[in-house]
Subunit: 362 residues, 2 copies
C-alpha cells in the first residue's frame, strides 16, 4: 500500500491571512483562478488579494471559470497567465476553479504545448498551485486530480497528469454564505468520495483510515444539511471531512456513482454532487453480503441508522433522476464499458447490477 | 491545524525491490547508513544493494552507526560521503541509523559547516534521504526528526532542522529476525508515540486520527509481544502502527515520558523504547478527570482493559527503573525545567505530578 500527500495543509480560522506570507512567497506573480461571483461574496478573493498586496506579490485575476470548466477556458486562462508572466497559480472556489487552476498551471509551464497534452501520458511539470476551497465537496484542495469537460467524448474526465497543490488554505467561514443547495450538493459529493473510496478495490488501511474518519466528522455536521441551525464548528467539520475524503480518493479514485454522474452533468446539467448522490444508495445496495456489516458501519459513522434510512434521505433531498428509458440505457452502457470505474468496485460488478443502481435512482 | 507529510510511503511485501528503481534514481551515488549487523541479518541491506546494482546506481556503505548515535559519528560519515561524492543517503535500521542518515544528509549538503549548525535555528537543506525501517518503534522513516546524543548537555535531542525522508520503504519481513527484546522495546516506543501524541496540547483532529488508528492497529498485533506465535500480518501491523505513530508525532511532538527517558538512556544505557515505556502508565494516571474517558478509550483501542492492567503489563515486561533517590530527583528536576516538553502536556503539569510519574515507575 501507498501513502503520498505532499500538500501543506493549513485548516483554521483566517487560514489565508495567517499563512498569507507563505502563500505570497510561492512565486513572484500569481494568476488567481476563480469563478465569477462566489469568491467575491464569501470574502475569499479579498483575503487572498489583501495578503498578496501585504507581501508585495503581483497578481492578475481570471474570474471566468464556470461550473464544469472546459478545455477552452483552461487554454484561455493559460494564455493570459503566460502573457502576464505569472509563475504560480492560486485557485479559489469549488471544484471547478481548483481543478481548472491545476490544468492552467500545467499549460502555463508547458507554453508551447497544445491542449492535447492534458490527456496524454507523459511526464509534465506544472507551476506551483495554491488552493483555497470555498465549498465542502471537491477535496480538490489536496487531490492531484483536475476534472474537465471533454466535448470530444461528451463527458468529464480528469487530466492525465497528477498535480498536487503545494499549499491548501482551508477555512470553514467561506461556507457561511454558500446557498443551501450548494452546501447540500457539495456535502453529498464529499460523502460519495468517502463511500466510493471505502468500498473500493484499491482501498488500503491508509485510505480506509481517512475515509472512516471523514465519515465520522461528516456525521457530526449534518444538522446544517437538515435545515437546522449550524452549530459552532459545523462548517469547519464539513470542510475537514471534505479534505479528508479528498485525501482518501487520492489513493483509491472514485467508482460507479461518480462514473454514472458524469452523464447527468454533461447531458442534463445536473450539479456534480447531486448527480453523484442519486446513485450512492444503489451502489451500497449492490455490495455482496460479506460487505454488508461494513456498509452498516460506514452509514452509522455518517449518522444514518440503516441503508433504507439513507435511501430515504437521498430521495427526500435530491428526488429522482430525470432520464428516459433510452437515456438510462445509455448511462448503463457507458459505465458497463468503463473498465477503469468497474475495476474500482471491490467485487465483480455485472451490467445487471449497474442497471439496478440506475433504476433505483429513478 | 496543520497537516504536512510529504514522504512517499510504500508499505508492502518486498517494498525495497518493488520500488528499487525509484529508490535508485533518487541520485547518482548513495551513502548507505546502517548499523553493524542487524541490516545484514534481516536482509534489508542486501535488498537495497541488489536494487542499486540492478539500476546501476553506485553506493558506499557506512555501517558504524551505534545505538544513540553521536555527533562525531554523523560528522565521520558525512566526511566520507562528501569525499566519495554521494548525492543521496539511504538509512537502514532502527531509529539510530535513520535519524543519523538525516543529520548526515544535512552535513554532506552543507560541506563547509561545523557540527554546531545541527542545533542552530537557520534554514539549511539536506541531500534526499530514503529510509528502510527494520524495527517497529521509531517512526523515523517518516518523521522529520533526527535525535542525536548531545554529550555537551548530557542528553539526547533532535537537531533543529526538519528533514522529511523523500521515500520510506516499509516491509514487515525485517522484523522476523529481530530479537524479542528489540521487538518489545520498539513496539513500546511506538505505543509511547501514540499516547504522547494523542494526549498532547498540540493534538489536532489530524494527529488524533493518526494516533487513534495506530492504537487500533497496534492492539491487533500484540500477540507477538506476549510471547505468542505471530499471526499472519502481525509484523506488518506493528510496522504500520509505528509509521502512523511517526506521522502523529510529526504534528505534535512527544511529551513527558520521552522527556524522562533520555536521562535513563544517557546515564543508564537503557534502550530508548524501554526507557519511555516505564513512564507511560504514570503519565496517563496524571491526566485530569476530564480526560479519563479518553484515556480508557485509548487503552482499550490498544487492547488493554484498564489503566491498572496496562500498568501491570508494563511492570511485567519492563520491570522498574534502576535509579537512586538522588537520580530520581535529578530526572524530575530536568523535566520540571524543560518547558518544551511540559508545554506538550494537555494540562498544567506540576513538579509534584512529574515526581509522581517517576516514583510510579520505580
Amino acid at each position: 500500500m501507498e501513502f503520498y500527500m505532499p500538500t501543506q495543509i493549513y485548516h483554521e480560522a483566517e487560514a489565508v491571512r495567517k499563512h498569507g506570507e507563505e502563500m505570497a512567497h510561492t512565486g513572484k506573480k500569481a494568476l488567481i483562478v476563480t469563478g465569477h461571483s462566489s469568491s467575491k461574496k464569501n470574502g475569499a478573493l479579498k483575503d487572498v488579494t489583501d495578503s498578496l498586496d501585504k507581501y508585495h506579490t503581483a497578481y492578475i485575476i481570471y474570474d471566468k471559470i464556470t461550473e464544469n470548466p472546459t478545455i477552452e477556458s483552461v487554454m484561455d486562462a493559460a494564455e493570459i497567465g503566460r502573457r502576464e508572466g505569472t509563475d504560480f497559480v492560486i485557485g479559489i472556489g469549488g471544484g471547478s476553479p481548483l481543478d481548472a487552476a491545476k490544468a492552467i498551471a500545467l499549460m502555463i509551464q508547458n507554453r508551447d504545448s497544445a491542449s492535447s497534452v492534458l490527456y496524454q501520458n507523459m511526464a509534465l511539470r506544472a507551476l506551483p498551485v495554491v488552493t483555497v476551497p470555498t465549498t465542502c465537496g471537491t477535496g480538490s484542495e489536496v487531490t492531484p486530480f483536475a476534472i474537465l469537460t471533454r466535448d470530444d467524448l461528451q463527458t468529464k474526465q480528469s487530466i492525465s497528469h497528477r498535480i498536487y497543490p503545494v499549499i491548501a488554505l482551508v477555512d470553514g467561514k467561506y461556507l457561511k454564505t454558500a446557498p443551501e443547495s450548494v452546501l447540500m450538493n457539495t456535502a453529498i459529493d464529499a460523502l460519495g468520495h468517502m463511500l466510493e473510496s471505502y468500498f473500493n478495490s484499491k482501498a488500503t488501511d491508509y485510505s480506509r483510515m481517512l475515509a472512516q474518519y471523514a465519515l465520522e466528522v461528516w456525521g457530526m455536521a449534518t444538522d446544517i444539511l437538515f435545515g437546522m441551525e449550524a452549530q459552532e464548528g459545523d462548517y469547519d467539520r464539513l470542510m475537514f471531512a471534505s479534505t479528508l475524503a479528498g485525501m482518501a480518493i487520492t489513493h483509491t479514485g472514485t467508482s460507479i456513482p461518480h462514473g454514472l454522474s458524469y452523464y447527468l452533468t454533461y447531458h442534463k446539467g445536473i450539479p456534480h454532487g447531486k448527480a453523484v448522490g442519486y446513485f450512492l444508495p444503489g451502489y451500497l445496495d449492490s455490495m455482496p453480503e460479506s460487505l454488508e456489516p461494513q456498509v452498516i458501519m460506514a452509514l452509522r459513522a455518517a449518522g444514518f441508522g440503516s441503508l433504507e434510512q439513507f435511501e430515504g434521505f437521498i430521495k427526500e433531498m435530491l428526488g429522482t433522476i430525470p432520464v428516459t428509458d433510452q437515456e438510462a440505457k445509455e448511462m448503463v452502457e457507458e459505465i458497463a464499458n468503463n473498465d477503469r470505474k468497474k475495476k474500482a468496485v471491490p467485487f465483480e460488478i455485472t451490467k445487471e447490477q449497474i442497471d439496478k443502481i440506475v433504476q433505483q435512482a429513478r
